[in-house]
Structure formats: structure tokens, C-alpha cells
Symmetry: C2
Subunit: 496 residues, 2 copies
Amino acid sequence: MAKDKGPVRPRAETPKGFRDYMGAEVSARKAMLDRIAAVYHRYGFDPLETSAVETVEALGKFLPDVDRPNEGVFAWQDEDKDWLALRYDLTAPLARVAAQYRNDLPSPYRRYAMGPVWRNEKPGPGRFRQFYQCDADTVGSASIAADAEICAMLADTLEEVGIDRGDYLVRVNNRKVLNGVMEVAGILDPADPSKFEQERGIVMRAIDKLDRLGPEGVRALLGEGRKDESGDFTKGAGLSEGQADVVLGFMSARRDTGPDTVARLRELAGGSAIGTEGAQELETIAQLLAAQGYGPDRIVIDPSVVRGLGYYTGPVFEAELTFEITDEKGRPRQFGSVAGGGRYDDLVKRFTGQSVPATGISIGVDRLLAALHAKGRVQADTHGPVVVTVMDRDRMADYQAMATDLRRAGIRAEVYLGNPKNFGNQLKYADKRNSPVAVIQGTDEAARGVVQLKDLFLGAKIAAEASHEEWKSQPAQTEVPRSDLVTEVKRLLGQG
Amino acid sequence: MAKDKGPVRPRAETPKGFRDYMGAEVSARKAMLDRIAAVYHRYGFDPLETSAVETVEALGKFLPDVDRPNEGVFAWQDEDKDWLALRYDLTAPLARVAAQYRNDLPSPYRRYAMGPVWRNEKPGPGRFRQFYQCDADTVGSASIAADAEICAMLADTLEEVGIDRGDYLVRVNNRKVLNGVMEVAGILDPADPSKFEQERGIVMRAIDKLDRLGPEGVRALLGEGRKDESGDFTKGAGLSEGQADVVLGFMSARRDTGPDTVARLRELAGGSAIGTEGAQELETIAQLLAAQGYGPDRIVIDPSVVRGLGYYTGPVFEAELTFEITDEKGRPRQFGSVAGGGRYDDLVKRFTGQSVPATGISIGVDRLLAALHAKGRVQADTHGPVVVTVMDRDRMADYQAMATDLRRAGIRAEVYLGNPKNFGNQLKYADKRNSPVAVIQGTDEAARGVVQLKDLFLGAKIAAEASHEEWKSQPAQTEVPRSDLVTEVKRLLGQG
């Protein structure tokens, strides 16, 4: 029997795979999302905020690589026996909304959404079970101009948040071209779309790994299979050398210009009606974007883009950051993908039976924010509040009045509300808050109608750089009339 | 056996008790939350965003009036057999955070949080299972100045979002005074706090219903019990007439000024040490607020404030909107409560065993937004984007270029992306979007280098007000050079 240990206390822990965001992390994300929303808004997109909870049947099963018993979502059964779940992306709820309100929404319906999504996946380093997405989609437009618009808006968005031109590339491909290549390679039979489905899945995943495995690794996966460094064997698609050549030829079809790439794709997929249609769509996108001035320094046609999700039916997009960062082992590597999307013409049809064309993009908010950090382009508070210290606890009202005066002038300010007995603790607190200025008024100063202002940033600088003699002579602390408090603090903050 | 009906389609429905927010609803809430955050920030509070998911043990059981099997929360079991749940408020996660990061957070820790919370309650009209809260709390300060600050900040916040002075009242009470009265009435024994717990619960709920039931209804609940209009009987606390007089005397102790009310409370609870302490705290709050200029037109001491939650240990606050609205039956009624809070010194102790004083406020976001709507003070987009119509689908790039030019000038604009065949549909779409201006360029206009600008707001006004002759003569549509597009649209939008 267990020993009696008294009342069991709950553990103060974020659940495994979840995390908390504090202070500047919250402000920086909000500042970025506000900028993104401004671009989306300017393009005519309207905000939508759906509930976090959906019925499991409405969500459907579209998560890739699901290896968990409950199919990657957090789900539970309602008292009414309905299965409910947390949304795993913002696209499935949009499809539900587009079907539910189809008689009331404008058509086409341009909407943006930003918020957390949840995945019941094995947590890992940097891999969380709740994370933000930020999506923009156009529902009800079959026009390829809608896809081109999404690509242009994505490029604008990246520049607006602080990714300079040259540091990103929006890459565009088309699932129809991919299907055309599959048809030419003999693993897609238009008369029986479900035939070779498994092989095509393996081929798609192999193409998606080109960056990581290189052409020979991909070739192995297209053929018999591949043994990785750890000795694990991944079964291949079983394609012949000739079939694999067709697929690999497609992956290396990118040329210097959009028109040249499209011409090459027409050659490769020319034997397939769907492939030709896909090449035509890519040509239209390239023309529309070129006419608006989005050249290959920003948006390129790139046949190696696949996108994991199974529901795409036409153009697919990916935004890649092309600058290098240092990975956890100190090696330089490209930052990589921060957004992806494409056309999905069948998601709304699940509900209504009627095909509703749709296309959109999803930005990985945490990854984009990490990129802004890497580039030093994060917008967040640089300093904490002015701290009014408490020398005499009977004069709390006077200290509160000082903070009130500062706030009325738009200055962030607070009174120290811990135990005021130890003054050193008050300055340590101000330090921890990254406070720029401490206001000090003891009985003597109060009698003389003055306050002491301690410039904490200057103080820290002097402490770090100056000798003891210099330190003593530096005016990091000044006495000013109480009536000049606001003016003098403004001056110290550089707002004078 | 059921007939074969083909593939079963998922229902396109928001789950019962949940709702979606669209367009202006999202923008208006965001605008309000941004303003609230600005006030909180100015007071030195830092943002915190915890995960939506917590362990059930960390959340604890603090929901009032729980009549559901799973205790009012949405919960499920993890693969690791841990029970997880969606947070039901923002205070329980704060207590967890304050315990988890106690060595790293500044102390006192002022934080604000805004976001959805979830309650597994029976949905009803206007009662949803996901709703927003917006909280500000100070953890680690035992000072009554922290409570006073929260009240002042709440008043500032209400005025900042658009509730004028005179339209709200922050009411302050103290649980200690209440406990003192219970002690005097003989239903609280300081030597055995658990004794009469049930009776005290009934008394608290009765006081909370004063507005609705009146003094006689409350007296019945304090005594044997009360039969309501439907004939249902609610068991009372079983107090004697004399005991009930003590409690009712407390409820009507509010006087014209804070000092007078405090004096009356001292009389009533004078026989109890805890009651006297509570009256003293109220006096300190009243003094601090008076010194900062928050008079009884904004913040009052009111002994009838109880607040439902069981965890409060000292001052409790409630913000009430005092203007009248018309209820669903056409009767005038006061708008009522939009925020509440108080001091809770034991929530962090659940985790650490150490008492950590804390106080804070929670704003009911949807109710406050409804109040702003009632007052006509909602900030949201007043119009949709400029719509560039498509007369000639081969010149899509030209239309996109027009939208791009407008956007670069900061004007919200979009190209019509539906099927352009029926031009009437394009204007209907512009109308549905509440678009101010439609841009039109057919082959003829393109050849002449001009565009037509249709002023849709003026057009709608003319259609509503003018005779047919006037309608024809009004210049709701003007032709301008393509090169003047941006200038002329700006002029129509009143930005010229």
C-alpha cells in the first residue's frame, strides 16, 4: 500500500505537446497577423472566425500520414452521442461554412481566417499539438485568375511582414500536370481513377522528398524501394526504369522562365489530356502574374512542388524562404517552406453534392515568425513600463497618482505592488520588467515636491561599460520637480 | 432494413451551441479587444496566451451550478490515459502558469489574456458553448492597491471602448464582509469553516438573485424556501427571522458615499474579526480610488455584489451597464453586468502549497460588444471593396492591373472572379459586398483609354429616393481616363 502523503496536488504543467506564449511572443505574433490581415483585407478578403469545435463528420479525414488511432484529431463524444473534435486546419471549417451559408454568402466568397488548430500527433522538438494558421481562400471561382491572385497576395504578404524580395520564392505547380505525367508513365488510367492509387501515393511522397533524398534516393523509391541510413527499408512504387525516367524528367522540368518551363511540361505531359490542361493553366497563371509585374524573382513555375494534402485538384503553391539559417547542429541550411496551398474543387461537394471550385493558401504562422526573428524583423515592445517605486506605503495614493499622470500622457506605467520593504527588490523587479525608468519619492523628496528619476537603460549601460569612478559621476539618476514628472520621463524615453 | 440512399453526406452544420463569426462581427470584436489591450498595456499588464487544452487536474472544479455529467467541461482521454480538457475560463490556466513559471515570472505578475473559453452547458438562446473572455490579473500582490488598480483600469477600459461615464458603474464588495455577516448571523463558525457550508451557499445564491426576486423573494430563500411562478419549490437556508434580518440588513447597507457605506458595514459586521478586516479593505479601496479621482459616479462600494464563483477570498468587483435596452419582449430593462472579478488568494496554492495572492477581472466580450452595438459605438468596416468588373474575360490582366493600382494606393479593391457572362450578376455581387464603387471597362472603353466608375452608394440612394426622370439624369456613373482611375476613385470615396 502507498504511504499517505497528504492531499495530492495537481501538477502545474502545460499538457504534453502544448505550449504557452508570453509577453513579446504574443505581441510579435499579433503584430505580424495584423499586417497579414491588412494585406488580405486590401485584396477584398473578409474575416471569418469559425468555432474551434466541429463535428467529426464535417471535418472529414484529410490529414496526411496519419499514424494515430483517432486519426490525428482530438475528439470526444457529446451527450447526444455526436462525435465532436477540434479543427485540425482552417480549410475543413471553411468548406462547411461555404456549404452551410451558400445562399447568403457572396459568390465568389473571399475569406481569411487566423487562429489555432489542433493535431493529435506525437509531440516532438519544435512540433506542437496546437499551432496557429493564417489562411486566405476564394470559394466559388473556377477562374485561374483566382489562383494567380492568391500567389500575388502571398508575395505581397511576405514583403509586408518583413521578408525582403529575393529572400522568398512562391513556387507554383499543377496537380493536373502531375496526373498527366502519371498517365504518361502508365500509373494513372483515366477510365479507372482508383487503379494504381497506392503507387501514385508513393510517387507523390517520393517527389516531395527530392530536397532531402536527391534524385537517386527518389529513383530508389520510385523503383523497388530504399534503405535509409538507419537500415529501415521503405517499399517503393515498383516502377520500371522507363517509368521512373518519365517522373524524374518531370521533376527536373523547371527552366529559367515560366514560358520555357510550361513548354517543357507540354512536351512531357503532351500525351495526356489532363496534363495538357494543367500546362495551359500554368501558362495562364504565369501570364497574369507577369502582366502585374510579379517576375520570376518572386513567383516561379516549379514542377517539383507537390504539397502533401490529397484534396488538391489543380494549381498548388508553396512559399519558400531562400535565405540560409544555421540549424541546431550549426550547419547552414535554407529556411524552407512557410506557406502552402492550392485549388481544391471537391471539398464543398462533400456536403452539398454540387462541385464548388475553391483555391487558397495557408501560412504557417510560427514558422514565418521564426523567419522574422532570424531576419531581425520582429515587431514587439522593446521595453517594459515605467515603474513607480514605493518608499512609503502610507502614500500609495500619491504613487498611484504619478502612474495615472504618466498613463494619461500615453506612457506605459505601473506602481510596484509587491512588498515594498526591501527597496532593492523593487529595482530588481524593474530590471526584470525591462523597465526604462524608475520613479522614486521618499518622505524627504515628497516634502520638497520632487521625485528622483532613475534611467535604468543608461544605468545598465554604465554598469556594463564604465569604471567605478565614471559610474559614480554619471547622471543615471536625476531629481526633478513632481510637476515636471511627465515631461521629464518623456524626455528620458526620447519622446520629449 | 434501411433503403440504400447512396453515399451519406456530412451535415454542413455548426455543432449545437457553437457559432461562426463573419466579416464585420469579427472586425468589430477585434477593434474592441485591441482597444482593451491598449489600456491593459498602458497599465503595465503583459499579454499571455496559454494553450486551449489543459489537463483536467490542472483546471480543477470551479464552475458554478454544474449540472452536467462531465462537470461543465469538454474533456477526453489522451493515449497516455491523461484526461485533457478545453479551458472553461482564463483564470485556471493563469493559476497553472503562475505556479509553473514561478521562478521566472516577475513578481507581482500583471498579465492580460483574451481568447475563447469553452463550457459544456446546455445551449440556449444567446448562450453558447464557446465564447470570448478578456481578463486582467495581478498575481503575487497582497496589496489592496492591486484591487483598486483593477477597478480603476476597468472603468478606464469601459470608457475607452465607448461606454460613456454615467452609463456604467463598477460595484465593489468584499467576501470578508460577507463572511463577517455570516458569522454574526450564526452560520459561519471560524473554528470550523466547513460547518454550515451548505446554508452559506444557499444564502450567497439568494443574495445574488436580489435584482430578480426582490427582498421578499430573497427572505423566503433565506428561510424555509420559495415556490416560483411555475410552482417549483426551491429549498431555503432555514435561517430564523432574526438571522435573515442580519443578512438582509447587509444587502441594503449601501449609502450615498463610500465612507458612509463602510461605516454601516463596520456596524453590521463589527462582531466579527474577519468582517472588520473586510470593511477596512473596502475603506482602503475607496480612499485610493477617491485620491485618483474615481468618484461614486464610476466606482461604488455595494454590499449586494456577491459573484458566483466560490474561489474569491476578498474584494469582489462587478461592472454593470446602467442604461436601458429593450428586451426580446419589448420591455425596457437595464443592460446589466459585463465584467466581474475579485481577489482569489488560494488558486495558485492548489499547485504549490504556498499561498500566492491574486486579483483580477474578466470581461464578457460578447456582452460588452452587444452593449456597444446598443449604443451605436461599434467600430467596423462600413463598406466593402471597390469591385473591378469583367466585361471581356480575355483582358483579365488589365482588370487585375486596375485592382493592383488601387491597392497600391491603399484602397481595398478586387476583380470580380465569378463567371463574368452575366453583367447583372456582377453588379448584384458588388451590391452584396456593400461595394462603394464598381469599375467598368468594355472593349470600347479600353480602345478609348477610359473606364466607367459607378458610384454604388449614390446609385442606391437615387434608386431609393428619386423619381425615374431624376434617376436617369443623376451622374451615378462617370467616365474617366484610365490614368486617372486611382485619383477619381479616391474622390468618390471622399479621400480625394
